[in-house]
């Protein structure tokens, strides 16, 4: 419910005219009327259609591939196998503008000899129609000799296990050595130890991966793409073997990303085919392709051993976590780092010992997904808090209260948290909003759960992240924002417009944002890591402030007052104390233009830059800042069928400053639904590395039948490092949901199911083994 009566906001937005208002987003009319053109809606004359042939084996040697029959099929323009490809690899490391050293994590573009996961691409086809391309794939002959594989982290870590690639199956490790855990455990009255498991998760964006590529008269490879990251153009150029300035990525509004369009998907295939054929090529994944074609959320096993005093203070925490990285590295090291930093949750833990590892297997590779390691960490630390509360006989909320971080306290990496930590207020408000407890009837048991989190926003500070934006005022007083930022559906672009409108005294619809073109819009970095508003919002703010400053200076001279006495609103510039002394923005702009006063500004915003953390202790700065909040839920568990229904769901988050409260609520509601699926129904199942759930009838995301109306409580500490004190909400909205639901189920049935998802089968089994059947 988005009733403002139940969404109290700390700090009224008295100073703002545009920011903080729940305005319809500028992209909303196009979307509601079906006018928005996504990447898959573009066609070109003489266009070819591409398909990707994938390995039916998860671990094998390619001993022969013969495309001669496919090439002979009428209507086939091009078939590429590894034989035809340049001797180059596809980089899989963290993307973007940073000049910092990358990991050595490249992937073969097409299988050369070794197949490492089910669905790894063997060949590319471009043909006059998708149907012909499909037929051609059937005509490509290949022999795969199955090889022993490793399909679980346990298998991969066993002595003598087959190695997926490189020296061993350890992809990455992190550790934290802080304080003295032995002394901490010695001081504990109670030590609680439990292990929690999470599963492979699919992003399930509704728009599958799609792009259209063509080579223009300047030999530039243009690719119109559904992507979170237009700055992959550099990696694509390196993979194809052309200079960086010969690849252009034109983004479109993206039909959902959630991290799944953070890595390169179809770009390199398109670039190769467009160059090979000299014709435009379109590649649109089927839903099944999409299940095979991008990295998943890492399954984690996380063991917490926590020491508590009798009155519930944490004395020591030892965490051991293992993530399945799948067959290629992609962003696993970073996900693992985020999980390590988030492992103790929003609690002060002075004696902390963390060992974390990501392990290669012949499962699908895993990479970025909303929550990025912190979501898995939260599943563990929040269930652990409830288990501890039960063992200690302390109320779960009270136990959390006794341990929450406060501003100035050191987090896991030893660095003090500088912004507000409103964990308690968020948790208390969310819990109170559950209201009256629902009634138990027949086999139905009611349970309640809460979870709190710490989630970073902004990229790792040693990546030296930057973002650029250009803001200008046109001659008719309308405003233009240019920035390379991609909009993946959260309203990234509209938020920039709202910031520019605020500062330049115009209405939201007076602003047009040109975005997401690597050739013409200033590079803004990725739409990932809950960084778009923080980074690009700040860049737009700074650019708009610079333009505003010059316009107000000129107006002040005309009015014969100081600059700080002048303001602008509703496209009018006026003296604040005497609003009748005014001129239209159009007249002011005309004056500035005729006098050569610059009406635009290009700004680069820089995040804090640091060097890396200490590898032995894990101490040092990792992120610009952190967001805090909590989720409260009420569930009904049918003890006969094992079915869990979420009855009430409240997300309370300190977002710093809501730029658009409706958009913030949208993030909370959507993050909640993804967290609900994570908790109860979603699981990619790999049997010996082979995906057996590649459709929406087998991989179950929440429907309108499953979702309660989500209630959002938005708190605004204005303490964040984003524009106007904003923090971030994209990832935080998801992170606490699954553990809150898991805690509610445990509360309802008195048994904890420590393996997500909590399916009806697991509930029934857990009840039976606990002797608590219906």
């Amino acid at each position: 419910m988005s009733d403002s009566a139940i969404t109290p906001r700390a700090g009224a937005n008295v100073d703002f005219r545009q920011v903080g208002k729940p305005l319809p987003r500028i992209d909303a009319p196009g979307k509601a009327h079906g006018k928005t053109r996504y990447a898959g809606d573009y066609v070109m004359p003489n266009m070819l259609h591409a398909k990707v042939l994938r390995s039916p084996e998860a671990s094998a040697r390619l001993t022969r591939i013969d495309a001669s029959k496919a090439r002979a099929l009428p209507g086939v323009a091009c078939v590429l196998t590894h034989v035809e490809l340049p001797d180059r690899m596809a980089p899989t490391d963290i993307p973007g503008q940073t000049g910092r050293k990358r990991l050595d994590t490249d992937q073969q573009i097409l299988v050369r000899e070794r197949v490492r996961y089910h669905g790894e691409p063997l060949a590319l086809v471009a043909a006059e129609s998708a149907a012909i391309a499909e037929k051609a794939m059937d005509l490509i002959a290949f022999d795969l000799e199955p090889l022993p594989g490793v399909y679980s982290v346990e298998d991969a870590l066993a002595p003598g296990a087959p190695v997926v690639q490189g020296a061993d199956n350890i992809v990455s490790t992190y550790k934290v050595r802080k304080g003295d855990v032995q002394a901490g455990f010695a001081a504990a009255d109670t030590i609680i130890e439990n292990t929690y498991h999470t599963q492979f998760i699919e992003h399930a964006f509704l728009e599958p991966e799609v792009g259209l590529a063509w080579v223009d008269e300047n030999e530039v490879i243009n690719i119109r793409m559904s992507t979170q990251v237009i700055e992959h153009f550099r990696f694509i150029a390196e993979a194809v073997g052309v200079p960086h300035n010969k690849v252009r990525i034109l983004g479109s509004l993206v039909g959902g990303g959630f991290g799944g369009k953070e890595d390169i998907t179809v770009e390199i295939y398109l670039a190769l085919l467009a160059r090979a054929t000299g014709r435009p090529v379109r590649l649109c994944y089927t839903r099944e392709d999409s299940f095979f074609g991008h990295g998943k959320r890492h399954p984690f096993s996380i063991t917490h051993r926590t020491g508590f005093t009798r009155d519930g203070k944490i004395t020591a925490l030892q965490v051991d976590m293992t993530a399945d990285a799948g067959a290629y590295v992609f962003l696993s090291p970073y996900v693992l780092l985020y999980a390590t930093v988030a492992s103790p949750g929003p609690y002060r833990v002075d004696n902390l010992h963390v060992d974390a590892r990501a392990v290669a297997t012949n499962n699908m590779y895993t990479s970025a997904f909303r929550g990025f390691g912190a979501a898995q960490a939260c599943v563990a630390h929040e269930q652990q808090m409830d288990e501890a509360a039960k063992a200690l006989g302390i109320d779960p909320l009270e136990l959390r209260r006794r341990n929450f971080l406060r501003t100035g306290d050191p987090i896991a990496t030893g660095v003090p948290i500088e912004s507000a930590v409103w964990s308690d207020e968020c948790m208390t408000r969310a819990w109170d909003a559950l209201g009256e407890r629902s009634e138990e009837r027949g086999p139905i048991r009611i349970g309640r759960g809460v979870a709190a989190y710490q989630q970073s926003y902004g990229r790792i500070t040693w990546l030296h992240d930057t973002s650029e934006a250009w803001v200008g005022v046109e001659m008719d007083g309308t405003v233009v924002v240019r920035s390379g930022v991609t909009d993946i559906g959260a309203g990234q672009v509209s938020a920039l417009a709202q910031i520019a409108a605020e500062l330049l005294g115009v209405g939201l619809t007076d602003v047009t944002v040109y975005n997401s073109d690597s050739a013409t819009t200033p590079l803004a970095g990725t739409t990932t890591a809950t960084r778009a508003l923080y980074m690009t919002g700040n860049a737009v703010r700074l650019a708009a402030e610079a333009v505003r400053g010059r316009l107000l200076d000129r107006a002040a001279r005309a009015f014969g007052v100081e600059t700080n006495a002048v303001d602008m609103a509703d496209s009018v510039v006026f003296v604040r104390d005497r609003p009748q002394t005014c001129m239209s923005l159009t007249d002011l702009v005309a004056t500035c233009a005729s006098e050569g006063i610059h009406r635009s500004e290009l700004v680069m915003f820089r995040a804090p830059f640091t060097d890396g953390i200490d590898a032995e202790t894990g101490q040092g700065r990792v992120h610009p800042d952190y967001a805090y909040g909590a989720q409260a839920v009420e569930v009904a568990v049918d003890t006969e069928t094992g079915e869990v229904s979420v009855l009430k769901c409240i997300g309370a988050h300190d977002v710093g400053q809501a730029i658009n409260p409706d958009a913030v609520e949208g993030q909370i509601e959507g993050g909640t639904s993804q967290g609900l699926g994570y908790a109860l129904s979603e699981e990619l199942i790999y049997e010996n590395g082979k995906l057996v759930t590649p459709s929406f009838s087998e991989y179950l995301i929440p429907t309108a039948m499953d979702m309660p109306r989500v209630q959002s409580i938005i708190l605004e500490s204005r303490s964040g490092v984003g524009p106007f004190g904003a923090k971030g909400i994209g990832e935080p909205s998801l992170t606490p949901v699954a553990p809150a639901i898991a805690n509610a189920v445990a509360d309802a049935i008195g048994v904890r199911i420590a393996d997500l998802p909590i399916t009806p089968e697991k509930v029934v089994k857990a009840l039976a083994s606990a002797g608590r059947g219906p």
């Binding site: 419910m1 009319p29 009327h33 509704l206 599958p208 559906g489 949208g666 959507g670 909640t672």
Partner: protein
């Protein structure tokens, strides 16, 4: 095109002809005619992104062969109204922030329109959830979609 047959359709009130192969789906034909608001999300009838009104009923256009709907009247989301004269559903989806990435939005609006036309103008919570049960949305959690449909129902009641 060998095997292609000319199929006549009325799309958003306009007579259209499409040369369709026997295995061509209505989704493919509509997109081929330029109705890009009809989205492809799974081509298996699981997601509802391709929903259109077929003689007033919401259907997944990916599950219908074009040859089987000769002469049918099709309405897409853009046929319900224009930016200048929006349908209450358009307006409510905009005002209530019910579209995020927007890819599923045309299908959701079609499903809601079909519910209004066929069931009731005062949908209960259960009516609404059932009507939308064939439309997957990964961004919104449906909350603002429900809010928008409530709002559209209210506008339509007020208009009588």
């Amino acid at each position: 095109m060998k095997d292609a047959k000319i199929i006549r359709l009325t799309v958003n009130g306009r007579e259209r002809e499409v040369g369709a192969l026997p295995n061509e789906t209505l989704l493919e034909s509509l997109r081929g005619l330029g109705y890009f608001e009809v989205k492809s999300g799974c081509e298996k009838g699981d997601c509802g992104a391709c929903a259109v009104l077929l003689d007033g009923e919401a259907v997944d256009s990916c599950l219908l062969l074009t040859w089987t709907v000769e002469g049918a009247s099709i309405t897409t989301v853009s046929g319900l109204g224009s930016v200048d004269e929006p349908h209450p559903l358009h307006k409510a989806f905009i005002d209530r922030g019910a579209a995020q990435c927007g890819y599923c939005t045309p299908g959701l609006i079609i499903a809601a329109k079909s519910m209004f036309d066929n069931d009731t103008r005062e949908p209960s919570e259960d009516d609404m959830r059932l009507a939308l049960s064939g439309n997957l949305c990964r961004c919104t959690g449906y909350t603002k979609v429900f809010d928008a449909i409530d709002e559209a129902a209210r506008i339509m009641r007020e208009r009588g």
